[in-house]
Amino acid sequence: MPILETIGLEKRFGGILAAANVNLSVEKGARHALIGPNGAGKTTVINLLTGVLKPTAGRIMLEGRDITDAAPHQRVRLGMARTFQINQLFLDLTPLESIGLVISERLGTGADWWRVVGSMSAVTGEIVEIVERFRLADVMHERTATLPYGKQRLLEIALAFACRPHVLLLDEPAAGVPEAERHELLATIEALPAEVTVLLIEHDMDLVFSFADRISVLVNGALFVDGAPEDVARDPRVKAVYLGEELDA
């Protein structure tokens, strides 16, 4: 059984069909990439999966459970977290506070209004683990707004990871990261634990082909090709529609 599955997912914005009959199936533990030219509807699909947008038709199944009508925060608790293409961080908080917040929410103490943050050692231990995994230890006390872009990008993923998702959706994690900071980011993504299923939306073909073990190509809101990276790379239609366009651009 796939861990994440969409059945006939459709989203209409007035006359525009942004997602048309998308049947996406992500296996447990997969490194699945969703690619497609600009305007193919990749971000629409992510927003549908995470509940930011409501689908016009179709169902979304997470671990066999229908989550089509669940609110965004409920989907997180059911095991699916996401990052954003454009950083969505808490600029006034430090990375330490942000990560601590996510952990305390997950442990169900987020509504606790009497205890002081971090008075539980379980939280502290987990903050350490995440801060180290995402190489944020040296900047953890600084205001997020003042961090270098590469670190902000790492924090973007760290916040989603701290939700302990079964499925992690990465929306263009490498977008806009300067060359010097790129390596650190890619190494961190590579090192994500194997049991976490990753659905990656990305423009960067090097990253996609080095990372993914399965690729789905989205064109004009519909799934175009779905298969192993070698097959997708060889597929003449993909070359024509997507890689060809990439070369022209």
Partner: protein
């Protein structure tokens, strides 16, 4: 609370650093302790100013309630007077008809009534932008003012609620004419409410509010039920505003329609503009400055004091509090450097060290 050090973690240094930081974060700073010592010392320092001090304490508590929603959750409101007024009338009526005689119990009940009312109206505030919220909150308090006016048989209407007789606090301290007991009562209530508010903002719940204020989209994406957190803090803040309103009724043994007035809500915004939001002391410091500025200017020019208050506000907003704070920080740095220099004159042997720090 016993805390087990995270010794089992791979990097105990980092873990200890984080644990220490989190503990330190909520600790009372010496400045805060000094603030409250001075606040309580005012009972003995300014015996001829009890009335204005009492009004200041009530205004401070009221401003604290707005700071909780504005400074921590980003909800702007022109209608905190609604909760102030509801609890003001409630505490007046229960005292008048002898339903709850003990003032402290009546105070807590008034706060709960205001909170319940806040909970019900919070759903109106969840929707829409800042402008919508301003209008909705303003509308609610104006409507309540008219309701109180209409049911004059209960509220006394334009004449105000007469015949309120407040029993002694805890059966011992009655409200005297000089306002000594009234002020001490208000100050203690303010302190207790402040400690609760402080506890709330340093809790995980408080942190989640700041995240909701900073980025509601992301807050939902990390599993925070944004709507319910806003409902919760709006309800709590309404309770605080209610306690402030009940304090006014209890210490004056009177309640009139102006508890619902727009001016009362607008004053709060002025207080927070003066004092700043999001660090809890803004409402307290702002209330002190606002009240005493008002008092001082009113003695200088009884007719035109509002002109000068207005001028001060315009200057504060134009100059910006950041710049004032920057100037204070610069002055502090200058004094520190001056101190360093004097120190190096007195102790020539540490000159090299002083030179090194100057050169950074």
């Amino acid at each position: 609370m016993a805390e087990t050090p995270a010794a089992a973690s791979p990097t105990p240094v980092l873990a200890d650093d984080i644990a220490a930081y989190l503990r330190r974060r909520a600790r009372w700073s010496p400045l805060e302790i000094a603030f409250w010592i001075f606040a309580f010392a005012s009972i003995w320092l300014f015996p001829d100013k009890y009335l204005i001090l009492k009004d200041t304490a009530i205004l401070a508590l009221f401003a604290l309630s707005l700071d909780l929603i504005l400074g921590y959750a980003g909800i702007i409101s022109l209608g905190q007077a609604a909760f102030f007024g509801v609890a003001g009338y409630f505490s007046g009526l229960v005292a008048k008809y002898g339903l709850i005689n003990e003032p402290v119990i009546a105070l807590v009940c008034s706060g709960l009534v205001a909170a319940a009312f806040g909970f019900v109206t919070s759903f109106l505030v969840l929707r829409g932008s800042d402008l919508t919220r301003l209008m909705v909150t303003l509308g609610v308090s104006l409507m309540l003012g008219e309701v109180a006016n209409r049911y004059a048989n209960i509220t006394g209407g334009a004449d105000g609620l007469q015949g309120v007789d407040i029993a002694p606090v805890l059966g011992r301290w009655s409200f005297d004419l000089y306002g000594h007991n009234g002020y001490v009562y208000c100050l203690i209530v303010l302190f207790v409410c402040f400690v609760i508010a402080r506890r709330i903002v340093y809790s995980p719940f408080g942190l989640s509010l700041r995240s909701v204020k900073g980025n509601p989209l992301r807050a939902a994406a990390i599993g925070i039920p944004v709507k319910w957190r806003l409902v919760a803090i709006y309800t709590i803040a309404a309770g605080f505003a209610g306690i402030a309103g009940a304090l006014l009724t209890q210490t004056t043994a009177f309640c009139s329609l102006d508890v619902f007035s727009l001016e009362r809500s607008a004053d709060l915004l002025l207080v927070l503009i003066i004092g700043g939001t999001g660090y809890l002391y803004g409402g307290l410091i702002g209330a002190v400055i606002y009240k005493f500025l008002q008092d001082w200017i009113a003695t200088l020019t009884p007719q035109y004091w509002q002109f000068w208050i207005g001028l001060v506000l315009v200057v504060i907003v134009l100059v910006g509090r950041e710049r004032v704070e920057g100037a204070i920080a610069a002055a502090r740095g200058f004094l520190a450097r001056l101190g360093d220099r004097l120190w190096t004159r007195i102790r020539p042997r540490s000159a090299a060290l002083g030179g090194a720090t100057d050169g950074r």
